[in-house]
């Protein structure tokens, strides 16, 4: 049997039962389409989360003060609430090999007022290299520089949301004065938006020099965070261990379990989040996969009906010299053709669906080449698996009985 004849017969037979073929294909379209759309949601959120974590800075370790604990006390204070980290800790960490930069911060929440408006927001006291480590860029004006930190300048860089709250959307506040607590500050810059909302958003806050913050806001030498940028990604765990050891030593703690600080590793966070999104993707894919199986059963059902309907025709073809393998190949090609067409349309529908999900719900979706390969491989497998039994049944028909079949 020539390939061209095989395709010709397949086309003819599918075309002579258009509505039945179309409905069967629809089953596969829905199956493949929903798999593609669901996986795009899963992969999109994975991409979203990892890009958000990476936007916090690359190869970052964050040292945070631990909880306050004293002998005999059962109740722990909140993580980060204690004041155990100091500037001198940060200076000591700088001495560790393979560290690119260290930036300490202090943070506090204050009421901020300007003429005619006020807001309650986070105030970050930062080192001059903080923006570099955290990949923060300014939209307007300039960043906080080293001399402003040394001289305890009363200057402020606003997050875009804070700027909007205080001066109105997209206003240029450079050179304006804002009042934080009892002190007045000059606005020297506005950062670019990084997205995100609510607590921990890097858009809704005000940056001021670290020393200024220590002097006027917290009144102590302690720091809230020490951000450490490691020079290479594969050294992160090594550096983390070194910092751990150094700080335990400096704080005179022998048992690591009772450390008064903790170190957050960006890579750990990333892997924890990606394992969550992988599970999510798998779950969504599995749910959609069920509809694909239902579509496959539709194929099998149609093919079995076709084999029964065409029993005489199969008998005739055998009497004309068709071998059993010709017959089974013919029916198998029919079912694979159905699933392939369904797979192709389903891919387009899934792609469109994921675009629509993105537009309507704002969820990030992502369709990549592996989805395309997946949809075609799955379509072919479904076609072969669910077409095999009907094809075999057709091939095994006894030509004499098939010709007599009414």
């Amino acid at each position: 049997m020539r390939i061209s004849d095989l395709f010709g017969e397949t086309f003819f037979s599918l075309a002579s039962n258009k509505s039945r073929s179309a409905l069967t294909i629809l089953g596969i379209v829905i199956g493949i389409g929903s798999v593609i759309a669901m996986i795009s949601v899963g992969q999109g959120s994975a991409k979203d989360i990892s890009s958000r974590i990476e936007s916090l800075g690359t190869n970052l370790l964050v040292v945070m003060p631990g909880s306050q604990k004293s002998a005999g006390q059962v109740v722990r204070g909140g993580m980060g609430s204690s004041q155990t980290l100091t500037m001198s800790d940060a200076e000591a960490i700088k001495e560790i090999k393979d560290i690119q930069a260290v930036a300490s911060t202090v943070s506090s929440r204050k009421q901020v007022t300007v003429k005619g408006a006020n807001t309650n927001t986070s105030i970050y006291g930062i080192d001059s290299n903080y923006f570099g480590i955290k990949n923060i860029e300014v939209d307007l004006g300039s960043v906080i520089n080293a001399s402003q930190v040394t001289s305890q300048s009363k200057v402020a860089v606003l997050g875009p949301t804070t700027r909007d709250d205080l001066f109105g959307a997209d206003a240029d506040p450079i050179g304006q004065k804002i009042r934080i607590g009892s002190q007045e500050y000059f606005v020297i810059g506005v950062t670019k938006s990084k997205g995100g909302s609510g607590m921990g958003s890097s858009d809704d806050l005000i940056y001021i020099p670290l020393t200024t913050a220590q002097q006027y806001l917290t009144g102590s030498q302690s720091v809230s965070n020490i951000n450490v940028q490691v020079s290479q990604e594969n050294l992160m765990t090594v550096v983390q261990a070194q910092i751990q050891e150094l700080l335990l030593q400096r704080h005179r703690i022998s048992d690591p379990a009772s450390a008064d600080f903790s170190i957050m590793n960006q890579a750990d966070m990333l892997s924890a989040m990606s394992s969550i999104t992988q599970t999510l993707t798998l779950l969504l894919g599995a749910i959609a996969g069920i509809s694909l199986i239902v579509g496959g059963i539709g194929i099998m059902n149609m093919m079995l009906t076709t084999v029964t309907e065409r029993t005489r025709e199969i008998g005739l073809r055998k009497s004309l010299g068709a071998k059993s393998k010709d017959i089974s190949l013919q029916f198998l090609t029919e079912s694979v053709a159905l699933t392939f067409i369904g797979g192709f349309i389903g891919f387009l529908v899934g792609w469109g669906g994921s675009w629509l999900i993105n537009k309507l719900s704002g969820l990030t979706t992502s369709v990549n080449s592996s989805s395309v390969i997946l949809s075609f491989v799955v379509a072919a497998v479904v076609g072969i698996v669910f077409g095999y039994y009907p094809a075999r049944r057709a091939a095994k028909l006894n030509p004499i009985e098939a010709l007599r079949y009414q």
Binding site: M1, R2, D5, L320, G321, P399
Partner: protein, 231 residues
């Protein structure tokens, strides 16, 4: 070209063995027009299936062109059906919703020896041989009359240029007038093309179109004689 030696066919049905053909022996030479006649249940259809390489005898030997068909594999039987035998059925068995030409060219799908470029030409030759007007060739098979359908079926059987045409009650679904046209077509093919024709029927009037009549009853040949067609 056809030689049957002591062919017996036994069907095992419900524990009891039913002998449909008992020790049947005969020969058919190339270019003969033979009718095999017998009442229903006489075993004539079973004989046709064996002659057509659709079935194998339980015992005995069937030689087709000096090849023992009983020894061949299923694949080889299919090859024989494709190259040496053309079937014509009582109920035509044309593909519905397909044109006359497509129906006639159907056997080529299972015949890799014929080039694709030769197909149309051979189909046209076969259709001309059965006398179907050229303006019908594009018609769908279910738009034809019974006589035309059977002639399309004969053209389909002819298209591979097989040595043997096997016709099973080819006039059974036709009225006597169109039946006669079909039978005359067979006669013409036999005389002008030299096709060997084996016609299975229960009707003596039909059988008389052949040159030789083999009569079969209860699985045994009871008569084998020439008809007056030879005169």
């Amino acid at each position: 070209m056809i030689r049957c030696e002591n062919i017996t066919k036994i069907y095992a049905t419900g524990g009891t063995d039913l002998a449909v053909l008992k020790d049947v022996s005969f020969e058919i030479a190339k270019g003969e027009f033979v009718a095999i006649i017998g009442p229903s249940g006489s075993g004539k259809s079973t004989l046709m299936h064996i002659l057509g390489a659709l079935d194998r005898p339980t015992s005995g030997k069937y030689f087709l062109d000096d090849k023992d068909v009983g020894e061949l594999s299923d694949e080889d039987l299919a090859e024989i059906r494709s190259s040496k035998i053309g079937f014509v059925f009582q109920s035509f068995n044309l593909l519905p919703r397909s044109t006359v030409l497509r129906n006639v060219m159907l056997p080529f799908i299972y015949d890799e020896h014929t080039l694709v470029s030769e197909r149309k030409e051979k189909a046209a030759k076969a259709l001309k041989a059965v006398g179907l007007e050229e303006d019908r060739w594009g018609h769908l098979s279910n738009q034809l009359s019974g006589g035309q359908m059977q002639r399309v079926a004969i053209a389909r059987a002819l298209v591979n240029e097989p040595g043997i045409l096997l016709a099973d009650e080819p006039t059974g679904n036709l009225d006597s007038k169109t039946g006669q046209i079909v039978l005359q077509t067979f006669q013409k093919l036999n005389k002008e093309n030299g096709n060997t024709i084996i016609l299975i029927t229960h009707d003596h009037n039909v059988a008389n179109f052949a040159n030789r009549v083999i009569e079969i009853k209860d699985g045994v040949i009871v008569a084998d004689k020439k008809t007056n067609q030879n005169l």
